[in-house]
Amino acid sequence: MHLILFIMFAGLCLAGALNLLLQKHPINSALSLVVVMTSLAVLYLLLGAEFLAAAQIIVYAGAIMVLFTFVIMLLNAGREERTRGSVSAVALGFPAVAAILAVIATVILKAQDLGSASLSDGITSTEELSRVLFHELLLPFEVTSVLILIAILGAVALARRGNGEEAGK
């Protein structure tokens, strides 16, 4: 049962990712990304990470991708123009992708202390997750939130710099 669901949603995820690249219209690409995010959430759920699955849906599929589509709609971005593509991009791009994939795969396969998860694992409750997050990993968690805060402040500062008069309001 788990395996059938895994194959279904992993397939959906890959199909969405391919569609994202192949679609000519930005809104279709954005919606394919929503499909990818949602099927990832199901994969998390299959691994027993229920809170992560819900957070994936609420944060990524619900909030971030709505912002994406919002911006696409606001700018009224049209279809992409078809170009012949550049030879150098193809010549450099594919080897670069292969090299990066190889490096990441080696690192992951060589790592010794990585835990493993299987599809039939029990569900990790939100309580356990928050205990790990707020007891053992408290410092990294707080540092990450400060990092995000800095990014937000930077974005606000950049957005305000353009017109000096309005910023004073």
């Binding site: 929503v34 949602t38 229920e50 599929a61 619900g62 589509t69 939100t126």
Partner: protein, 349 residues
């Protein structure tokens, strides 16, 4: 239970709940027309059937028989997908709502709930946040400036108010120690009305934040800017006709019902009785199964009535007021509520 039995039992529950929900949607529309009519000193629909009770049926037939126009310049795939998405999401979130006391049902049967999920509350929030796409895509694919403006407003409004909505629920979750809606209800079952989160849990501030944010989430007055008829014709569903329009209409009312269900589960103790143990529990098994459902329906009805009352009373917000209110007032108060509740819980232990 074998898998086949489980699937059949679930299908049966889904069927019953969907039929009840859609009937409730139809009659909420009638209730709204009647109540708003009385608020405006007129009768509302009164011709079809006794007291106009058959009006929803006739409305349905009318919408079904209308010509189904698809304008030439729309982006067809998304134009057709949007209403399906809107109604689909509106119907899905009812799946985690517990309607009655699970203790009455035989062991292993979730008789009063389609599925008893650990993260029920998050499922409701997640499905609602996906539902935005229905409205956003409807406006964009219609290729009409009013529709586009309507859906832009709607997306911005939903993103802004979802934050306050989510934060207002944290206090309740902290008190119950679970995201499971059934457990949240059971945590309020002790002493009737006194142990409901709104009174005994001191979540009354969170309750008002939730209610305000939920009105904005469901695009209802006074936050119905996405379909402000005086500025935007009909907003995101301007180009929709016949059953496609009706789909959006049903989605809006189904969302109202879901929001009312969640509000009564989280703040008014769901299916628990307001009298607690003052009234002796009924010995009759049928009565003890039906009484919790009765209390639940009464609470949901109260919220639906409140929706209509507010619509008949308050004028629409201006857009900048809406944004200011969400970000500058609701969100800080919601955060303060979380801090207050956690402090209180920490000191109590």
């Amino acid at each position: 239970m074998t898998i086949l039995q489980f699937v059949l039992f679930s299908l049966l529950k889904v069927l019953v709940v969907t039929v009840v929900l859609l009937t409730a949607v139809a009659y909420t529309v009638l209730l709204e027309r009647k109540v708003v009519g009385r608020i405006q000193n007129r009768w509302g629909p009164s011709r079809v059937g006794p007291f106009g009770l058959l009006q929803p049926l006739v409305d349905g037939v009318k919408l079904f028989l209308k010509e189904d126009l698809v304008p030439a310049s729309v982006y067809r795939p998304l134009f057709l997908l949007a209403p399906v998405l809107a109604l689909g999401c509106a119907l899905v979130s009812i799946a985690v709502v517990p309607f009655g006391n699970p203790a009455v049902a035989p062991e292993g049967f979730h008789l009063f709930q389609i599925s008893d999920v650990n993260i029920g509350l998050l499922v409701v929030l997640g499905v609602t946040s996906i539902g935005v796409y229905g409205i956003a895509l409807a406006g964009w694919s219609s290729n009409n400036k009013y529709s586009l403006l309507g859906s832009l407003r709607s997306s911005a409004q939903l993103i802004s108010y979802e934050l306050a909505l989510g934060l207002s629920l944290v206090g309740v979750v902290l008190r119950a120690g679970s995201l499971n809606l059934r457990v949240i209800v059971e945590s309020q079952a002790g002493h009737g009305i006194l142990s409901w989160n709104i009174f005994g849990g001191f979540q009354i501030v969170a309750f008002f934040i939730y209610l305000t944010a939920a009105y904005a989430e469901t695009n209802r007055a006074p936050f119905d800017l996405p379909e402000a008829e005086s500025e935007l014709t009909a907003g995101y569903h301007t180009e929709y006709s016949s059953m496609k329009f009706a789909t959006f209409f049903m989605a809006e009312y189904a969302n109202m019902i879901t929001v009312s269900c969640v509000a009564s589960l989280l703040f008014l103790g769901g299916w628990t009785s307001p009298f607690g143990s003052l009234l002796p529990p009924p010995h009759n098994i049928i009565l003890s199964a039906l009484l919790p459902i009765f209390w639940f329906v009464v609470k949901v009805f109260f919220f639906l009535f409140l929706y209509i009352w507010v619509r008949g009373t308050l004028p629409r917000f201006r857009y900048d007021q809406l944004m200011n209110f969400g970000w500058r007032y609701l969100m800080p108060i919601a955060i303060l509520n979380i801090v207050g509740t956690s402090l209180w819980l920490a000191l109590k232990h």
